[in-house]
Amino acid sequence: MTVSLSLEGRDRAALPVPSVWQLVAGFTALALRTAESKLTYRLATVLSLIASGLAYCVYLLVWLAVYRENPNPGPLGQQAMTAYLVTAFIVNAILTLSLEFRFIQRVRMGLVGIDLLRPLGFLPFQIAQGVGDALVNFVFVVPIFGVGLYFVGGALMPATAGAALLGGLSLVLAFVVNFGLSYLIVQASFVLQSGYGVLFMRAALHQIFSGLAAPLVMFPDGLRAAATFLPFRHVVETPVLLWLGTAGISEAPLLLAEQAAWALALLFLGELIFRSVMRRHQVQGG
């Protein structure tokens, strides 16, 4: 193989380099247009939210039954548990991105080449689309939060302004961790030509280890220990615990640092794989 390596460096100066302002403007415009695209399918978006809400009610009903049988099944009381589950659902709904499905489809149809040829760069291009998805999700969960407040009451609200701030910051980091996991699926789609298998595997791990079904303190020891070493809990449990004040100010720095470390590690790993697969990938469909 005699692929030329001679021109790297010199050439970049020969081309106009996108300015930071251009990248920010392009990123913002893409996020907004992605949100606009998602809003096109009004009924589908609302129905999928209702469907996931109904599916999630199973968790609530199971836990209510558990508390009826045993009022003290673990460290959390019934009200705290209900507040946790409703908040976890809301966080999960905000962070459920269409990114993987969209991307898998684009790889299968050979459309990914077009995404690779945008001056924004491939990673920022995908993040911007994720932001667009999350923006729409956020708008849609506001009424759900209102319904939750009606039924659960003030327990859904953060205990202090500091908890609200930490919860908000943690939600942003949770978005990046979640995106980092999605980005790995994007890379798997490149390698496998179809990323559905990996996507379903990730969904299963997320269900178990993210804290979506219950906070990890309610888990058996072995499962809890395993969850500690995985990134999934930082997508749902960490922002919920910080928002509700279940994790105090003293625990916040470590939790946020872990989240940030996972976010960086996943993005770094994703980029590493991306660079490797770009040398070997094929674009389907001529």
């Binding site: 030329s4 001679s6 790297e8 050439d11 081309l15 106009p16």
Partner: protein
């Protein structure tokens, strides 16, 4: 020489899993990891100067799209050297993206669920297109490609022809230095094709855009390109001017003759006898029309003079061979006769 694109010994090969068709073959493929190497492009060398308009043609599977993907940085070559606008495309893809425009026929370039106008606005922001450039490229596209009536319709509701026009407009909005157009007129009717060609010519005139056009419609090439690259099974068959290609491979001219009256059998035999020595073939279509095929070796004026002398001619036209006829003959012969 200001070079836009340069390739030297460019190659691309793929590893492909071997799999036979059928249900049981599908099951067996789960336990078999046999693969084969497929060569898509091999030893491809050419240079395109800035501002040139070049047609890249070849049969299906000849390696045209693979070549475009290597030139744009989507694919990494297996071997050889490639530069587009002075950079190695796959290494500087993001920087290069700012200066190139790409259309892949049948693959939508713009967002599917929102109107084309919104996608154009997005591209303006993403490419930081200066207002004065955008005003020209946008207005030119809307007018020339007649986009106005469906600019606010979601792209998924557009016909193929309408969408292709939007894709082409989107590709050229930022007035790229090089436009890679992979079958930009696929599925378009004759009038729209004309509009697309006019748009390309205008953009090139205004911005000096270098164009690399792959197409199966050779009228696109005739209208917009002065140079041809012909690929056959991944190899370069011809690189030169369009006229040169026609001169080199058009080994026949045809004389179409219409008679005033019916020619006698004696006159027909005499004409056949006079022209046969030069390899000229005469084909009669009824009693009053004939076609005379002149090979390159035969003198067209001499053949014409013989026809006029022997037959009562009312009308006569001499026709050269069209580009698409030459190309289809080359394809049929598997590239023989070129080189």
């Amino acid at each position: 020489m200001d070079v836009a694109i340069e390739t030297v010994g460019l190659e691309k090969s793929y590893q492909r899993r071997k799999r036979k068709s059928g249900f049981w073959a599908g099951i067996r493929s789960y336990f078999s990891f046999e693969s084969e190497t497929v060569s898509a492009v091999s030893d491809l060398s050419f240079t395109i100067r800035r501002g040139e308009s070049v047609g890249l043609i070849g049969e299906n599977g000849a390696g045209k799209s693979t070549t475009v993907k290597m030139l744009t940085g989507i694919l990494v070559p297996s071997a050889g050297r490639v530069e587009t606008l002075g950079v190695v495309p796959w290494k500087a893809r993001r920087h290069l993206a700012q200066s190139i425009g790409v259309v892949f026929g049948q693959k939508p370039q713009i967002l599917w669920d929102i109107p084309a106008r919104a996608s154009f606005d997005l591209l303006k922001a993403m490419y930081a297109i200066p207002d004065e450039v955008y005003r020209f490229t946008y207005d030119e596209a809307v007018e020339r490609l007649e986009l106005a009536e469906f600019l606010d319709t979601p792209v998924r509701l557009l016909s193929l022809g309408q969408r292709m026009r939007c894709d082409l407009a989107a590709c050229l909005l930022h007035a790229p230095a090089v436009a890679f157009l992979d079958e930009p007129t696929i599925g378009l009717d004759v009038l729209v094709k004309e509009r697309v060609r006019e748009h390309l010519i205008e953009m090139r005139r205004r911005f000096g855009t270098t164009i690399l056009l792959t197409t199966h419609d050779l009228k696109d090439i005739s209208a917009t390109c002065e140079r041809l690259l012909v690929l056959d099974r991944g190899k370069l068959l011809y690189d030169g001017s369009r006229e040169g290609f026609q001169t080199r491979f058009a080994d026949e001219r045809t004389l179409h003759v219409e008679l005033d009256g019916i020619a006698s059998d004696e006159a027909k035999r005499a004409l056949d006898g006079e022209l046969a020595a030069d390899g000229v073939k005469v084909a009669w279509d009824g009693d009053r029309r004939l076609r005379v095929d002149c090979p390159r070796a035969a003198s067209a004026p001499r053949v014409t003079a013989a026809v006029l002398r022997r037959l009562p001619v009312r009308d006569l036209t001499l026709q050269g061979v069209e580009l698409d006829a030459i190309v289809s003959r080359l394809y049929r012969n598997g590239g023989k006769g070129a080189g």
